[in-house]
């Protein structure tokens, strides 16, 4: 039993770390301003190391912001500023 508990605690700790990657997990992120495909440094903050988009849970974006992010990343990839993979 003891072992099981510690495993749960471990999982929770992992989850906390997971969320910390980008910051706040809930609510509108007003501090982020406009999302533009040219601002690669900003976009990379919301992508995994493989270049995949992070989920809304991790970006803390509203649905609208997340759509803008999606669009921006796709434009950015198209013009060769960001990688499709890796």
């Amino acid at each position: 039993m003891v072992r099981k508990k510690s495993r749960i605690a471990e999982a929770r700790a992992r989850q906390r770390r997971y969320r910390k990657v980008v910051g706040r997990a809930r609510g509108t992120r007003s501090d982020i301003g406009l999302i533009d495909y040219k601002d690669v440094n900003k976009l990379l903050k919301f992508c995994s190391q493989q270049g995949k988009l992070l989920s809304r849970k991790r970006t803390g974006f509203t649905a609208k912001q997340q759509r803008e992010l999606k669009r921006a990343v796709k434009y950015s990839r198209f013009v060769g500023l960001m990688a499709y993979t890796g």
């Binding site: 533009d36 495909y37 040219k38 601002d39 060769g80 500023l81 990688a83």
Partner: protein, 136 residues
């Protein structure tokens, strides 16, 4: 009806000239062919491409804002596709043409965490300017 557009050209220095002015001339030519009213066109950046495009690893990015008839955009795409210099282009329709300050703020020129990165950028800029001065 004329609509405002933003276009990002990815070009490469095919002729290997030091002066990239001819590339801008070429792009202006492409825009002139569709009777576009060019508000602004400038070299946005020159950087490594995230992946090879038409065998090129490096690209020069030109950002242009213009007003044109929407039906002519297809022609711009076609002309650019035939162009030897243009690797790729992204055309976006805008609500209005942003001012220069807005563009600068958008494209991340103003960094959120200035200390480390901005000094790097500045030093790179200084090197660029020094090189340009030498060339002149």
């Amino acid at each position: 009806m004329n609509q405002p557009y933003e276009v990002m050209f990815v070009v490469y220095n095919k002729d290997g000239q030091k002066n990239h002015g001819y590339l801008e001339e070429h792009l202006r030519g492409l825009l002139a062919r569709i009777d576009a009213n060019v508000v602004r066109i400038n070299r946005w950046d020159e950087r490594q491409l995230a992946y090879e495009i038409k065998g090129q690893k490096e690209g020069i990015f030109y950002l242009a804002y213009f007003e044109a008839d929407g039906e002519k955009i297809a022609q711009l795409r076609r002309d650019s596709g035939l162009s030897e210099y243009v690797l790729r282009l992204l055309v976006l329709r805008l609500d209005r043409i942003p001012t220069e300050e807005e563009v600068r703020a958008q494209s991340g020129a103003i960094e959120e965490e200035p200390p480390v990165e901005s000094t790097e950028v500045r030093s790179v800029l200084a090197v660029d300017q020094a090189l340009e001065a030498k060339e002149e």
